[in-house]
Symmetry: C2
Subunit: 226 residues, 2 copies
Amino acid sequence: MSVGDGGVLTARQRRPNRRGQGERLREDLIETAIRMIETDPPQPLSLRGLARQVGVAATSVYLHFPDVDHVRAAVVTRAFGQLTDATTRAAEGVLDPAEQLHSRCRAYCRFGLGHPNLYRVMFHADLPDSALAGGPAATPGRRSFDNLVAAVSRCLDAGQAPPHDDPFRLASLIWTAEHGLVLARISRPTFPWAPMDTLINEMVSHLMAFGEPRPPARRRGRLAAL
Amino acid sequence: MSVGDGGVLTARQRRPNRRGQGERLREDLIETAIRMIETDPPQPLSLRGLARQVGVAATSVYLHFPDVDHVRAAVVTRAFGQLTDATTRAAEGVLDPAEQLHSRCRAYCRFGLGHPNLYRVMFHADLPDSALAGGPAATPGRRSFDNLVAAVSRCLDAGQAPPHDDPFRLASLIWTAEHGLVLARISRPTFPWAPMDTLINEMVSHLMAFGEPRPPARRRGRLAAL
DNA sequence: TGTACATCAGTGAACGCGCGTTCACTGATGTAC
DNA sequence: TGTACATCAGTGAACGCGCGTTCACTGATGTAC
């Protein structure tokens, strides 16, 4: 690997970025912070520890972040971007709305279980308001949730589930349930869990009431196949 | 209040316990630790901070705990005791199994939301194995969960819900769902949540499939009342 | 074509703080003789 | 009834550590003249 062309260097071999490339350090800091959080056991993510890991003086962090909390916020923002990408990819090409919803939820849980420490930080961190992009309603993860609401609505619109008076509330239920599935599994790894996909499928079908007779009464009184 | 008879003293006015009453400090430490965790914003629960709050030298903590993690473990054990008590009380005197299950779940969530920081510690803390009472299967909160399994089974046995191939798995689903409801509400307080009881009721009824026709076919094809 | 200067990307020493942990110590209170 | 002693319940000073933050500094690189 050549040196000085922006190639990845391991910590301590680092040299200053080229003029105009100062933002690369910002990237390095965020990426390294994520890696440190993912580490097991998780390191507490201190400013000094982060700088050390990146191979840079502690003070250099201040060139890009006013605060270690702002690093954390950048990490969380990026992590939610990745989560949204993962669920979106899982939905791509799945035409059946119910199947798509299942696929989305499985991807969500897979992401959480695949990045357990990161997932915890995403929801645990008390982030400074100033550090979060968007207005007051734009809490991190809101975009991901909006996608879920849309997926739920498509199921309802397609008549695959009985009508519901509030798709937003229904989506909240599904989200909190998958959230709980992920977090419980993370914090109780020795519990005799049923396979994740079994739980997700059962949870989603029951909350959506897939397979329940639909009041429009075209075909009532039968346990649907699905 | 008289002094020297074991009455509660505020920090810094503390004086040594009577001979034979050394265990009282242990109690004080646990209770104070819980109070400190409940504080908003939560204090990180350091050994020195705890000792300061109790009004005792830092070294005195070592008289009862080998480690600050063992204090945390004692806190978690106690907290799960309180949670179990709360759900048990909620179930007392409620004869209808379905209603009792709802009542239990509401109490569970009320406890979580009422002690948000403590609830997080109960499930977040990476506790030293040595600090936890009971065998390997006796993770904290297991008793509480066993009660839930029993409550679910009673509903099934009473025929209030369609038969299920694995009540344990069904209880896992309900537990993780209520767990998620609590944690999501704690970490996203500005989200436009529906009322807690609405969500719990909907979640429990759907997961249990209360109101779905029961295969035993005594009365099928009707949307039950409930 | 040379050179002075501004800018960029980062450094390094120093500070005060709270932390966990160690060690030897203290002062009150029971109890054996 | 007195007294020496053991025990109990805790203390206080000291240590080294990693932390966040400050401050003045550096060395390479582009650019205006």
